[in-house]
C-alpha cells in the first residue's frame, strides 16, 4: 500500500531520491577522511557532512521520516568520525582501516547473527516470541563441537548441534504453543537451562583440558579466480562455507516467506491466526514447525562459532549473540534482507571494535555497544516504526 501511495505522490519520490543522495554524501564525507584517500584536513568532509545533514533535515520535513533520519544520523556520525580521523596519525588509520580485512571480519561476525536472526524471524513471523535464541545458539555451539569431536566429522557435528538446538526449541514450542506459557518467561528460562546444560556437560566431559585442538572444522571455500584479486580476494576469496550457507538462506527465507503459499500461511498465522485457521491452516502445527526450525537455525549459528570460527568451546561462549540476533530481527523490521543488513552492520561494528583497542580502548567499547544502542533507537521509533507481527506473543486457543 505504501508503494502505491508513493507512486501517486511524486513529491515523495523526490524526497526519497534526495535522502539517498544525502546518504551517499554522508558516507563519502567519512570515506575521504579514511585510507586510502585520507585527506588530512577535515574541511571537505565537514562540507559534505553538513550538506548531507541539510538534505536529511529537508527530507524529514517533507515527510519521508525513516530515510531522512537515517541520513541525518549517518551525516552526524560521518562528520564526527571524519574530524576524529584527521586528528589521528596516518599509520594508525592505515592499520585499522584495512578495508578488505574489515570486510572479511564483518562477514565472520555477521554469519552467526544471520543464522540466528533468520531463525528468530521465522519464529516471530509465526507469532511466537523467541528470547531463547541465545540458549539455542549456545546448545549448537557446544553440541556442535562435541558431536564433531565424537564422530570425527564436522558435518555430523553441525547436524548434532542443530538437533540439540531443535530439542530446546521443542520445549519452547510445547510450553508456549500447547500450554500457552508466557513466551518471554519460558524462553528466558531456556537460556539459563542451556547455559547450565552446556557448561555441565563441558566440565564433566572435558574438565580442565578444554576441547581438543584437532576437532574437524568446517572448511573455508577458496574461490578460484577471485582468490588472488586484491580487495575481493582478501574480503571474500576465502570465506567459510557456513558464511555462504547463511547468505543463501537469507535469499531462500525471503523467497519462502513472500513468494510461496506456505510462507503466506506462516505470516497469516502470525498476523491473524483465527483467519488462518478458518481457511484450513493449522495454527498449532505451523507454530510448532516455525519454533523448531528457529532452533535449528540458531543452533547452526552457534555451531559456526565453535566448529568453524574458533575450533574450541568455552562456557557461555555465545555471550549475548542471541540477543543481538533478536535485535537484528527488530532492526530489520522482521524481513530477511533487513535482518541481513542489520547483521552486517552489527558485524562491521564488531569488526571495528576488534581492531581498535590497540589505539583507543574506549572507542572500541563504543563500537561494541553500537548494536544495542542502535536497536534502542529503532524501537524508540525515531527511525520510523518497526512493526512486529500483529499476534506476536499471544497464545492461540483453538475453537
Amino acid at each position: 500500500m505504501s508503494a502505491l501511495a508513493e507512486a501517486v505522490a511524486p513529491s515523495r519520490v523526490g524526497a526519497r531520491e534526495i535522502a539517498w543522495g544525502a546518504l551517499v554524501l554522508g558516507v563519502l564525507a567519512a570515506f575521504i577522511a579514511l585510507p586510502p584517500i585520507m585527506l588530512r584536513t577535515p574541511v571537505p568532509s565537514l562540507i559534505l557532512a553538513v550538506a548531507a545533514l541539510g538534505g536529511g533535515i529537508f527530507v524529514v520535513r517533507e515527510g519521508e521520516k525513516r530515510l531522512g533520519w537515517i541520513a541525518i544520523v549517518v551525516a552526524v556520525l560521518a562528520g564526527v568520525g571524519a574530524v576524529a580521523a584527521t586528528q589521528t596519525n596516518e599509520s594508525s588509520l592505515d592499520a585499522v582501516f584495512v578495508w578488505s580485512a574489515l570486510f572479511a571480519a564483518m562477514l565472520r561476525f555477521a554469519t552467526p547473527l544471520t543464522f540466528a536472526a533468520l531463525g528468530g524471524l521465522l519464529c516471530e513471523r509465526s507469532g511466537v516470541i523467541n528470547i531463547g535464541l541465545e540458549g539455542m545458539m549456545l546448545m549448537g555451539a557446544f553440541f556442535g563441537i562435541f558431536g564433531a569431536d565424537l564422530t570425527g566429522s564436522w558435518l555430523l557435528g553441525c547436524l548434532i548441534g542443530m538437533a540439540s538446538g531443535g530439542a530446546l526449541a521443542v520445549i519452547h514450542a510445547v510450553l508456549s504453543v500447547s500450554f500457552r506459557a508466557d513466551q518471554v518467561v519460558s524462553g528466558f528460562g531456556l537460556n539459563f537451562l542451556a547455559l547450565g546444560i552446556t557448561g555441565y556437560v563441558f566440565v564433566a566431559h572435558y574438565g580442565d583440558q578444554g576441547t581438543p585442538g584437532d576437532v574437524p572444522r568446517v572448511p573455508n571455500v577458496s574461490l578460484p579466480g577471485i582468490e588472488d584479486v586484491g580487495f575481493f580476494g582478501e574480503a571474500i576469496g576465502n570465506a567459510n562455507l557456513l558464511t555462504w550457507v547463511a547468505l543463501l538462506l537469507v535469499v531462500l527465507t525471503a523467497v519462502f516467506l513472500f513468494r510461496t503459499p506456505r510462507g503466506l500461511r506462516l505470516r497469516s498465522v502470525g498476523e491473524k491466526p483465527r483467519a488462518a485457521e478458518t481457511v484450513g491452516v493449522s495454527v498449532i502445527r505451523t507454530r510448532y514447525i516455525a519454533v523448531i526450525v528457529s532452533g535449528f537455525l540458531a543452533a547452526l549459528g552457534g555451531a559456526y562459532l565453535s566448529i568453524a570460527l574458533l575450533g574450541s568451546f568455552t562456557e557461555n561462549m555465545t555471550a549475548g549473540r542471541g540477543y543481538i540476533a533478536l535485535a537484528a530481527v527488530i532492526f530489520g523490521a522482521w524481513r530477511p534482507f533487513g535482518a541481513l543488513v542489520a547483521a552486517l552492520l552489527f558485524g562491521f561494528s564488531s569488526a571495528l571494535a576488534q581492531r581498535l583497542p590497540e589505539f583507543s580502548e574506549s572507542t572500541a567499547v563504543l563500537f561494541q555497544a553500537l548494536p544495542y544502542v542502535l536497536t534502542l533507537v529503532v524501537v524508540a521509533g525515531v527511525v520510523g516504526r518497526s512493526r512486529p507481527p500483529a499476534s506476536i506473543g499471544i497464545p492461540y486457543v483453538k475453537e
Binding site: 518471554v184 531456556l190 544495542y372
Partner: protein, 417 residues
C-alpha cells in the same frame, strides 16, 4: 471469536498471576522447587556422582544449619561463616527480585534488572570512592541515593519508551542491560575516566573510602562478614508490600497490571504508571548494586560488571515468589543459599566439583523459570488431580486457567508480608 479466546488473548501476566495465586496457593511453588531439584538430582547422577551426598554437601555449604540449636562447637562456627555468605548473597537478590516483581504486578516484564543493578553499582562506587572525609552516615546515604537514582533513570528509559511509543519493555530492557555493561567497561577500563588512579594497569575503579562502607554487624569484616544491607533489603520488602497493598498508587499499579484497558476507562493514566513502575523497579535494582559495592566488594572491576548475575536471578526469584513480598524473600533466600552452597568457597570439592555445581545452579534456575512459565500446565494438572475440572475435553490446561481468570474481577487477595 469465542468468549474463551477473548479471555485468553487479553490475559496480561498479572491476570495470569492472579489465576495462579488463586488456583495454586503455596503448593505450586513448592512443587516447582521440588521438581527442579529432583531433575537436578538426575543431572548429578549423570555425572556419576551421588545426588544425596551432593545436596547434603551443598546444604552444609549454605550454613543454614546454624539456625538449629543442636549444631554446636566447630560446626556452629563454620556454619555461622557460611550463613553470613548466604545472607550476603541473598541481600541483593531480595531487591532485584522486587525489581522484577513490582513490574510484573503492573503487567510489565523487567528483564533489565541486571543493567539497573550495574548502573546502581557504578553510581555507588563513584560517589563512595570520591568525597573522602565526608561524615560516614551522610556519605553512605549519598552513595545509595545516587545508586537509586541511576537505577531508576535507567529503567525509566524503558518505562518512558513503553508509555510514549509503545516499545516492548522486554526488548528495551535487554538492550539497556548490554549498554550498561559497556558503559561500565568504558568507565573503568584501561584509560577510562573512572579507572583507578593508583593502579593504571588494572581495569578497576578506585576503592570505596572507609567512611562510605556499610558496617558489618555479624562476623569478621575482613572475612566478608554480614553488613547491615540485609536490613535495608528487608525494609524494602515492607515498602513494597505497603505501597502495593495499602496505597492508591499500589491499587492503580495492580489495576493497570490486571487490565490496562479497564484502568484507562476508569480514569487512571496507564502511561504514567508504566514510567513510575519501571523507575521504582530500577530504584530497587540500583539499591541492590549499591549494597554490594558498599557492603563487601568495595571496588568495581570490569570483570565484576561482565559476570554480574543478580538482576537475572531476580527474575527467577520474583517468578518463584509469585511477585509477593513474602514469596520474594523466601525465594531470594533459596537462591542465595543455593549460590553460596555451590560456591568454590563453601562446597566440599571432594563430594562434587564447584565448577559442575555452578552449572547445576543454572540448570535448577532455568528449570524453575520454565516450570513457572508453564503455570497453566501445573495448575491444570493440580485441578485435574483434585477433580475440579469442569470441561474435561481437549488438552489439559486451558480451561481451568481461563475459568480462574474470569472470576477475577477484583484484585486477588494478598498474603501478608
Amino acid at each position: 471469536m469465542s468468549e474463551e479466546e477473548v479471555i485468553a488473548t487479553s490475559q496480561t501476566p498479572a491476570a495470569r498471576l492472579a489465576a495462579y495465586v488463586r488456583g495454586g496457593g503455596l503448593i505450586v511453588p513448592l512443587i516447582t522447587v521440588v521438581l527442579a531439584f529432583v531433575i537436578g538430582g538426575f543431572v548429578v547422577l549423570l555425572a556419576g556422582k551421588d545426588p544425596i551426598a551432593t545436596y547434603e554437601a551443598i546444604w552444609k555449604g549454605t550454613g543454614l544449619q546454624w539456625l538449629f540449636p543442636w549444631t554446636t562447637g566447630d560446626d556452629r562456627a563454620i556454619a555461622a561463616i557460611n550463613l553470613q555468605q548466604t545472607l550476603l548473597i541473598t541481600t541483593p537478590l531480595i531487591l532485584t527480585g522486587l525489581a522484577v516483581a513490582f513490574a510484573f504486578r503492573a503487567g510489565l516484564f523487567n528483564i533489565g534488572g541486571n543493567g539497573q543493578y550495574i548502573m546502581g553499582s557504578i553510581a555507588a562506587v563513584w560517589v563512595g570512592s570520591s568525597f573522602a572525609g565526608m561524615p560516614a552516615v551522610l556519605h553512605v546515604l549519598l552513595a545509595m541515593v545516587a545508586a537509586v537514582a541511576a537505577g531508576a533513570f535507567w529503567a525509566g528509559i524503558a518505562g518512558f519508551l513503553k508509555a510514549t511509543v509503545g516499545a516492548h519493555e522486554v526488548i528495551t530492557t535487554i538492550m539497556l542491560n548490554y549498554t550498561a555493561i559497556y558503559i561500565g567497561l568504558y568507565l573503568f577500563g584501561l584509560g577510562g575516566p573512572l579507572q583507578s588512579d593508583t593502579d593504571r594497569s588494572v581495569p578497576v575503579s578506585n576503592d570505596i573510602v572507609e567512611g562510605a562502607k556499610l558496617p558489618v554487624f555479624w562476623g569478621d569484616p575482613v572475612l566478608q562478614g554480614l553488613h547491615i544491607g540485609i536490613f535495608i533489603a528487608i525494609a524494602a520488602l515492607l515498602v513494597f508490600w505497603v505501597v502495593l497493598n495499602r496505597s492508591t498508587t499500589g491499587y492503580e499499579v495492580r489495576a493497570v497490571g490486571l487490565n490496562p484497558e479497564a484502568a484507562r476507562y476508569s480514569g487512571m493514566s496507564v502511561s504514567k504508571n508504566y514510567v513510575l513502575v519501571m523507575a521504582a523497579c530500577g530504584a530497587f535494582a540500583g539499591l541492590a548494586g549499591s549494597l554490594d559495592v558498599l557492603g563487601w566488594q568495595f571496588r568495581l572491576a570490569t570483570n565484576d560488571i561482565q559476570i554480574a548475575q543478580a538482576g537475572f536471578i531476580g527474575i527467577a526469584v520474583a517468578l518463584l515468589g509469585r511477585n509477593t513480598a513474602l514469596g520474594t524473600a523466601a525465594a531470594a533466600l533459596l537462591f542465595g543459599a543455593l549460590l553460596s552452597g555451590t560456591s568454590q568457597r563453601n562446597l566440599d570439592a571432594s563430594v562434587f566439583e564447584p565448577e559442575l555445581a555452578a552449572n547445576l545452579t543454572y540448570i535448577i534456575q532455568g528449570l524453575v523459570i520454565v516450570i513457572v512459565s508453564a503455570d497453566v500446565l501445573v495448575l491444570g494438572l493440580l485441578r485435574r488431580g483434585r477433580g475440579f475440572i469442569g470441561r474435561g475435553t481437549g488438552r489439559s490446561g486451558p480451561a481451568p486457567a481461563t475459568a480462574a481468570a474470569r472470576s477475577d474481577g477484583a484484585p486477588p487477595p494478598e498474603p501478608g508480608p
